[in-house]
Symmetry: C2
Subunit: 373 residues, 2 copies
DNA sequence: ATGAAAGCGCTAACAA
DNA sequence: TTGTTAGCGCTTTCAT
């Protein structure tokens, strides 16, 4: 709460110039031991904490890496307007109640972005970078991203969080790595997973092993992930000489299981397998199916995509395709580091294989093995 | 990669002064609409991204909150020396291999700190703060924490990560909130959980419901969490008029299950229940017990503490006490916000109840309900 | 080995 | 409404 001591204070107390103080911390061995000790002692006595802002300003580098994601815990309620930093919202002084925000719901945590973040955080630590986490909704993205971008030397962005032109601007001055967004000439680096191959392997399993013929793809195809997964699904059908649907059954949201199942039931169009675009949707659909008295996988097989923890907790456990999220997060930082140290290197794109995880919801017993794609 | 445009560039291009540019972003409605548009246009054209460092320096506030934790993914290998920012380690240019770091091990993620972090991140977003994540090992803590502290307006620290004097220094200039560390006159704010009450309830359940009489507490008691949990355990034994052990069975690490079980077996000292200080240890012990052909909970009941996701994935599912981690993380930020806006307020301490989660490893069937302590 | 001094990009009085 | 100007705390030549 008191005013923080600065180099000037330390210098004065140690009886040296501010340059010497700076040197003492930056290149300790270029300073005479006795003065070094004096400076260190003064710093300690004062409780000196160097300002990273000032240092960043002076050096032109911040030593931090940023990760920007949508906030998916957002309930749409009471957010403080961006930029209104330090302000208090209506409930600011009411203590937060335990369990008010479903503290034990492993369906909501960890999700894809959490695992990615874990990897990014780990690799940042290994390489000595600080990690800045930013979140936002599409609406305020320009403000927020700009706020984050101003604090870091590079940035990773999750899909569907920022307009391309904003990313373009930013990438002109620092490495920007897009996750789960296929590379196209946008000057950005990319880290992706083999969505198509993964979904192809999954669908092949349903067709070859379980002899299912009436499969339905459920989920959005207006995202690049969705498109690629749907393509993998169709490729498998084509290879098996099954009728190839032009369009999937689209879901309004990843928790729209109830409506989808109701619709299927109403139209008496329940297939043998519901191949979902992502785990969350699959889980929501399994809930709805169970509620409607339909056995999974007994009457309908259901599969997901991503490999979230929720899928192994679920009953039945979820057959899915797992993305190597920790590894992808780490790779993002590696690319950033590389780009920062090789300013003339062009953007980098890297794709990881996905892993088919066979569990119970496709009709297999727990004894089956995971299969690498 | 190019030099970033600054206020000066924008001002020049828009034909105004730098102050006007600054105003345009800070107080848009105090600027004539026409000039505002001109400035915005220039900024957009240039791809202007304001430097948060410069702003922070000038304003004396950063608008960011920091979270500091130990890095528990640390394998002890190849870390880049702190401060060597931007450098590349030996493997810097080798792509990271998928699955090299156990990408699908839900025993290692999410852990306690991950869930806390989730809550902190969420509340930071709600209140318009950026979140800076720092990690380190005890060794380099002074350097690292100082690096983080220099970038934020307040700081949360996980237990056993920093020496008290360092925290004391920092707390003299910004709010510092300690997690899972009981308050004592140190000038820090504290967010804790009722460890003793939680463990008491758990132990009561073992004694009253399962009629167990030979219970053993396993784990460290050299941490404040450990002490409080052991105290709760003993209180339950005392209330049941059972013999009260002076000391617990101490574990070298949270994955020392094999050694512990081997020791117990060698001494023929296997109790009816192993009450573990934390989930990770409990899970490790269950593994060892199973490997030794001992049925859990058939022959020995095993319980944990924390409420990690791994406990619900485990076979048998783990009876434990859950901390409201998301909520605790959120509360940390609320306290920080409050303190930042009420500089003369003293430190705040808040304790949350823990929740007894009865699952299978104590001998109960899955039909049992969670009980609030 | 140490000091003097010129910025780094932005904010906020204070003037105009 | 807009411009001038003095810092914010630190790094880094360049002298000494």
């Amino acid at each position: 709460v008191a005013k923080a001591p600065t180099v000037y204070d330390v210098a004065q107390r140690a009886g040296v110039s501010i340059a010497t103080v700076s040197f003492t911390f930056r290149r300790p061995n270029q300073v005479k031991p006795s003065t070094r000790e004096a400076v260190l002692a003064a710093a300690r006595a004062l409780g000196y904490v160097p300002s990273a802002n000032a240092r960043g300003l002076a050096r032109g580098r911040t030593g931090a890496f940023g990760l920007f994601a949508l906030n998916y815990l957002d309930t749409g309620a009471d957010q403080v307007p961006p930029g209104w930093v330090g302000s208090s919202d209506i409930h600011a002084d009411e203590p937060i109640e335990a369990n008010a925000y479903s503290d034990d719901d492993f369906r909501r945590f960890p999700l894809y972005v959490d695992e990615i973040q874990r990897g990014v955080g780990f690799e940042c630590w290994r390489r000595g970078y600080a990690l800045m986490i930013g979140a936002g909704s599409a609406a305020d993205s320009r403000t927020m991203i700009t706020d984050i971008a101003g604090r870091v030397d590079g940035l990773a962005v999750l899909p569907h969080t920022l307009p391309e032109d904003v990313l373009g601007d930013i990438s002109r001055r620092m490495p920007v790595i897009a996750l789960s967004e296929p590379p196209h000439r946008d000057g950005l680096s990319h880290v992706t997973v083999d969505n198509q191959g993964g979904m192809r392997a999954l669908t092949d399993h349903l067709i070859a092993h379980h002899r299912l013929r009436k499969l339905l793809f459920v989920g959005p195809v207006d995202t690049s992930d969705g498109k690629a997964r749907f393509a993998g699904f169709r490729a498998a059908l084509r290879a098996a000489a099954l009728p190839i649907p032009r369009r999937p059954l689209t879901a309004g949201s990843s928790t729209a299981g109830a409506e989808l199942v109701a619709g299927l039931l109403a139209r008496q169009a329940m297939p043998q397998a519901l191949v979902c675009e992502m785990d969350e949707l699959a889980l929501s659909i399994i809930d709805a199916l169970k509620a409607a008295g339909i056995a999974v996988p007994g009457q309908v097989a259901v599969t997901g995509f991503d490999g979230l923890a929720a899928g192994v907790i679920n009953v039945p456990t979820l057959t899915t395709v797992r993305q190597p999220m920790l590894t992808m997060g780490r790779e993002v930082v590696r690319i950033f580091d590389h780009l920062l140290n090789n300013p003339d290197a062009g953007p980098i794109a890297r794709q990881f294989p996905a892993q088919l995880i066979i569990r119970e919801s496709c009709g297999c017993g727990p004894e089956h093995q995971a299969v690498q794609v």
